[in-house]
């Protein structure tokens, strides 16, 4: 993935697993990565994806009660 990226943070690891299943079901490209240090100093995983159509993914997650927070990171290209 390249360009602007959005990071989806979750309340627990189980939520990340559920969210990943939704991404797969929706055929949304994503990456599981450790939570960047600037967002949390604790160990944890999050979902990174490009910033296009994040609303679709986000509203789907809410539909399945997967509480999350979206943060952006700078373009790395």
């Amino acid at each position: 993935m390249s360009g602007d990226k959005s990071i989806f943070l979750f309340a627990s690891t189980r939520m990340v697993i559920l969210a990943e299943k939704r991404a797969i079901a929706l055929k949304i490209p994503y990456q599981i990565i450790p939570i960047p240090k600037e967002f949390s100093s604790e160990c944890g995983m999050c979902i990174e994806r490009d910033s296009s159509n994040i609303k679709i993914f986000s509203s789907d997650l809410y539909k399945f009660n997967i509480i999350h927070k979206i943060v952006k990171e700078k373009n790395d290209e």
Binding site: T13, I17, Y30, Q31, I32, I33, M45
Partner: protein, 206 residues
Amino acid sequence: MTKIIDCKGKLCPQPLIETKKAIKASLPGEIITVVVDNATSCQNVINFLEDNNITFNLQQDGPLFNLNITIPNTFNENSKQAEEYCSTFQPLRSSKQYVVVLTSDTMGLGNNDLGKMLLKGFLNTLPSLPLLPQEIICYNSAVNLARNGSDTAQSLLKLNEQGVKITLCGTCVDFFGIKDELVVGTISNMLYITERLTSDIIVVKP
């Protein structure tokens, strides 16, 4: 106070030239920090330091590589010119080269979903490390990580483009029937894998 040699934005051989100058101008035991912002320059400076038996440690801070160098008592620079250390591209390596062996599509034993997620996190983090493995060997269900459509395949591809060899067990690829779906990797056999795992290279199994 530590002397900082700021080489951000400078391309090879400049960081190496400035490192050499700083070493010559510093006193034995003094510590200098060379800051570079690209992996290739960093590796070239590391090669120089290793060739000259100079003690250092590497810290990565986001996109920055900080090389903390302890000035040696004597510095008899070898005959290599700065330019000779400059390669246009190579993955970072240290004297401790290593191979990553993936034996399944999960990391650790226990919960399968958790293990799969952890392994994805591991693979998706590897490309950003300053010290890349020489090779990643996948067998059993780990060969599925190279399948088209998986995010791990993209990470393996990225590592491959950075010079990391991706080796897949041929028997395993055949067992899962995924030969046509592979996006990265060289299919190999047990003789090769056995030879690699029993060689004196460091083997990392996450």
